[in-house]
Symmetry: D3
Subunit: 328 residues, 6 copies
């Protein structure tokens, strides 16, 4: 199982709906939300989740807040990427080496997962509570057994996203250093590792832009998508209104070999909270992307995002148009 | 009129709707909200209100914010507990003794009432503005004439709830010490009194639990319900999301004779803001219980709660199931 | 074109709908919102906008936040005051004198416009970003070419509203000194000018009133309306709930010759956020009036206000009733 | 031992130094600080302490922060009120009744004691950590054995000071409701008790005065001194400078029978932090009075106060002059 | 009396002490503080004060906080600029016109005065409490009778400093827009007036510089000094340490005809709080310049500044060296 | 030059003064401060600095804030460890590899250095401003030429301290994750690296202890000292008084092979700000240790610490006594 994570022959096409009249670069699925908050017996909400092609269908890691409002991540499978079987039990990671048990002594919570096919397996990164939020790292071959590596960074960090291949011979990750609360700031940084355990060469990538939809903080979303123009980064940006944070989704292009160099950055958001399931819920006014499926042949891009920290939604667009939107 | 507050013969059954398919321990009334925000000519909102059996029907004390957004409490009557006649004028308390006039010199506001049948009359407690929020105490025999006692405590305090009988020979009250704003903390305490005027023997009962639906603060809701297992306490717990407080409802069991000892405490909330009238309103995402009716013969429990600090709602459940939900 | 801004013969009546059953002093248009958030191709939201009679119809200056969430003001025309043609490009002000270019060196943003017919032209005031928010001043004769004067005040200021005639021989403006964020305080002040460039004689007009709908801050809305009883001021007042600001609309009467003297002030709000398009949007729970049309013959008052910082709405009332509501 | 706490025959005069040239109403002792921060082997600081006549000399209860910065209170004895023997071990209270043990289960800290001779014994009140700061109450006959009553109030409270006799047949206490941090607000309240365990009849006494030395908060200091004019209350008032709190000392007169009625209140502070030992220390700029000795025959008043939360100091004045200073 | 405010013949030289060994560009007077905090019978502190040549000596306006900590300004006279007679009563301004009485209805406080000889009289500007801090303006011919003009600006503003001549035919003032507390931000702006009553043409002059002694806020100090190179502006800059604000003194050069253009700005502070009377007092770590005397013939510059918001101090330097220090 | 950093033959003894009468476990040098704030021509302050044995004397890296209040680090040499020659120019690091230049593009500031002899050279760690504070790493052989490695961690981090040998085959560092301001929290963590560039295996070491001298945050001080009992860690702990942070010094023992396991931790501080040069200065009430010299034969320990963020000071003690003080 060393091949790329491309859909196997016979695998279903990625979820798709054509653009409605008057649609913009991205448009919402008419089936939104595709996963309801009470999809599981004890789920308070399911959102901010990651999906990848897997076998003859799709697999995912889902953020599930239970009815005690404890945050955890669960595995799931789907034939079509829209209808999901999610494990009612959270993922139980086994230590990937004999040191990992030391950080498992005290489990606090896990949330906002991403999944990346890298070399020969699916890596999962998530926000892992260890004396503050930091980036948990694990992997699976089959979405049944999951192995945990050491945390990538010191607290306080969130939104750790792996690149899908080595860059300059090193593993590479984006992340957003934070504080220990509802952080009112946050830039995206790039870090490298020879072994996915020790990380260094930290480089600043992007800061908020004053007086825009991304003026408070921002964080990487799906696994960056390699294109001829550079890495396409879908990310969330946050504006602080007088009644709280507003999370929108936008895009940027990063240099293929020096991804901390920003080649282009979209002026406009691609999607902001305007649908009821994005405006009303446990956290009003949130659009939070965590995964993307690409059908390069069809020029199709489908993004999984959380709505209002409550439900899972889909947005669609043409890859070429998203790239074009970044050019001045 | 020294008998218990049990419904008189011929009194109507408590409001009730059977559990819908897929319902959980508590379920919402299909008639919610049972009292609209503009139920009175000058009401901005009616919510966080208390109801008790009274005569051949029900009586209540209602939080009414008027269209100046001044907060006050009003009396009301109902034949069935669902359709209410609420007095458009606030309750005008007469001093219960010759000292009470001293604290009535400057009326600021009154809100979040509870009503408890205790010995021979209905006691009302509420959040009373006297150089800061504190616990007002009064009583009525007929829901027409109301008498005011001295405030129970120094400011700053909210959510004062009387027990329905003396404990160890003393009157007993739960309350939540606060600060003078939108308090971001708060534990439940227990206090005793020989005369409902002087209070002491303050004991800590429950603190918030980190990383759960009740991680910021909590406060007692309806009058505690005596059961063989202990006092059933329905209470609100608050979580702080990145866009504000989320108020949910849960339950605990307190020791019958030492009610500051917690016997059991539910891990999950019983109801959290998921209906539109709880998610949208003057304060989004609020479920706030203030009263409960019990039909022990039918094992029925009906809870009155405020939705979004805007309307009055009902939830139903089986008393035995609520108690079972607290057991590990 | 020196005559008053009264509608020309043949001009349409102001937008109007009769009072629905059970309506209060002001009532909402059944056509709300009259301008959708995506009315322009690149508009994120259109709200807090000003309308005046113009020629055979109406003209307006609109706050448009674009899909980068950059705030700007745009001109628009309408035959009936309800259906609008809005210029997709922001207003480009030309300097009204040779000094104005100095403050145009660095444009940050423009928002919350008001428009006032004064002597011989339409003046526009708005919140102008110049090293902090302050009051921009400009004018137009035709809503095609706009001329910019110097800013009226030092930062930090918002909600600058001109009176429609000189008072005591001086131009007069209301404004609300602020800070550089989402200001949690704010009183209305009055200032005078001989030339609309230099301002002085600053007088305090109104402060918030504790424990009411206007307890946090307040700011002038439409151009004051001259009546025999005084200047009718429609204004917004803000209450801070535990989940953020709530913006409502109320009224006061100011002395005709010493407008900093308050003759009467309404106890109740006239409109508070209770419709979905006021409760849900980019900033939940906002009703923000910026303009009013008066048909004195018909005793009609129509108010343009922003809903939830997202859409433009209309409210109607009888001028005489609004005035009556201010009397004790 | 039921007699009053007047010095026994042969007892030394109260500590005293004559007024220096140019002195104001109160003047500092030339021996200040009379107790050094390292007076005890493990003391980090000794300050905010209470002294009373006792037998042939004086006794006191001292706030001692140890070198772990744990706050506790210690007993001490002195022949002259200036040179002190302080017990290196904190006071170990025995429960005064069979319920007090319930609040002793978890000791957090004790600080800022006051001592009052009341009826037949010396009562000690202090800030007692019990799920937040509140008012601890105890007593002693001999400053060797100390008995603890229940806490007077719910948290959060500080600066509880008993009156030296019953008023209207009730025990009476001043206190200052607070929050759980370095409270930026605080008024003085009055409460009554039939038994020193249950407290009620809470009355507001004094609020801060804007733009003065007492504009942030204030709290009672020594036991009120009964005079023909009323209760003389020495208290601390706090101003918030741009670099922190400044604690000064002032005085007021309270009605003898309704002490919540303020008869007179000094415009000026009596002492503010101007000596090095008040300006520099663990908390710069603090003068904090906790006790007073009165020699009525000699018209002498000697005040014990803490300097910079680090040391114990003395100030002197003539009782008649302090009273005169309160008259307009 | 139209001549310039140059010292009259026979007037004493400005206060001066030669540079001590090892001194830097500015050095402290060995007589510091030249005015003690208790210089007046009821003064808590005297600081942040302004001095000008007057007749055969010097006159000044002094900030005096009294022992109630009420802030006010007092006139004073001196033969040598070092030994001062200060009026124990605050300045009582008479209205300069029939409108000024309107703003005198409610006096709150006055502080931080500056004095400028302009055309034919001495103008005084100060921070004037009128529903928030703003810039008071008055004048005197003789330092006995003072006349008050209208406030220059709306609140919130501090540190208003007049230029000593018209610029471009207009009066000119520097100021620092603020908020209503201990403002943690603040830039210097420039404004113009035809009549000292109405102000406009507001221009931004200087912002804080991150990571330096002037990283939080800054404000103009003495009246700008006209030199061939431009206006020499001595100003205060503030850094926020983890224990509060640190106020230092620096200098900049402004364009003679467009003073909002900064020609040069010193990298280093000229004086920061390092003497005990600057480090310890009512506000630790404050050096706050308000006035300067220049002896151009002798190349001497003497600056009056407040120390620790408690005392008045002097610093000396050579004008030419200060100018040189601004050049890169 | 691969030998250990032990003083060479003929090198001077470490700075030392015998314990004064009444001294505690640590005592201050009578020569404090040993380096004045204006030791360099353009130094505002010199403090929080690191010293090691070097050749026939001592070398150091010093935090120097210049008179613009820009923070930088400078090299220095001394024959006796007390009298220092400090380079007036900051250290100019040369990149240690071809990637380091990327992080040198934008230099913000450098402060709070530590120096550790490790294997064959002196490593320097410091707080390095790179889009927020993080841990800079460099080395020198001769204190003339300094080489910079990549930053160890992502922002926000401070107080990075290397262990003086590999542990488990890995380089090891303590650090304190922070936020981007005057962080009001902070625990000590442990991290490992194979190459001093990539870091992982992050482990929590110590958290603040409520209600003590170390209740707000803490950070490692000198290079840990290897003893038979474990690593002796001297560290700073911070308490938040109502007037700001108080920094004291204490000690703990860490496991030799698993240094994130705390063997013992002192209850009391070893030194808190009680000397004038610790209580008064740019940041009042700071004692901040950064280096230690050990003479094991003489059982002597000498600690270099910063006083009031202004000067460099020395404290002495017996190593054995410090270790004993940690045992319960």
């Amino acid at each position: 199982m060393t091949a790329a994570p491309a859909p196997e022959p016979g695998a279903p096409a990625i979820p798709w709906e054509d653009r409605p009249a008057g649609g913009s670069v991205l448009w919402r699925s008419g089936r939104n939300p595709i996963i309801a908050r009470d999809h599981l017996p004890r789920s308070n909400s399911i959102f901010n989740s990651a999906v990848v092609p897997f076998g003859h269908g799709y697999a995912g890691v889902f953020r599930v807040d239970d009815t005690a409002r404890v945050m955890n991540i669960h595995a799931g499978l789907s034939a079509d990427g829209v209808a999901w079987e999610i494990d009612p039990e959270p993922i139980a990671f086994t230590p990937a080496d004999d040191r990992v048990g030391e950080i498992q002594e005290r489990f606090l919570h896990a949330y906002d997962p991403r999944v990346t096919w890298l070399e020969d397996r699916y890596y999962v990164t998530w926000c892992n509570g260890y004396h503050g939020p930091t980036i948990g790292v694990g992997y699976t071959h089959d979405f049944e057994t999951f192995h945990q590596l050491d945390n990538a960074f010191l607290p306080f960090n969130r939104n750790g996203v792996l690149f899908p291949r080595r860059i300059g011979g090193r593993y590479a990750m984006l992340s957003r250093p934070s504080d220990n609360g509802h952080t009112p700031f946050g830039d995206i940084f790039y870090s490298e590792s020879p072994d996915l355990v020790h990380w260094g060469r930290h480089r600043h990538v992007m800061a908020p832009e004053p007086w825009t939809w991304q003026s408070t903080k921002l964080g990487a979303g799906p696994t960056p998508i390699e294109t001829d123009d550079g890495w396409l980064l879908i990310y969330h940006g946050v504006l602080t209104s007088c009644n709280g944070f507003v999370y929108s989704m936008g895009a940027a292009l990063l240099d293929l070999e020096q991804p901390w160099r920003v080649i282009a950055r979209g002026r406009d958001y691609l999607l902001s909270p305007q649908a009821p399931y994005e405006q009303v819920g446990d956290v009003p006014n949130v659009v939070f992307p965590c995964a993307a499926l690409v059908d390069r042949a069809a020029d199709r891009l489908t993004i999984y995002y959380g709505g209002a920290d409550t439900v899972v939604c889909l947005a669609h667009g043409y890859l070429s148009e998203v790239l074009s939107s970044l050019k001045p």
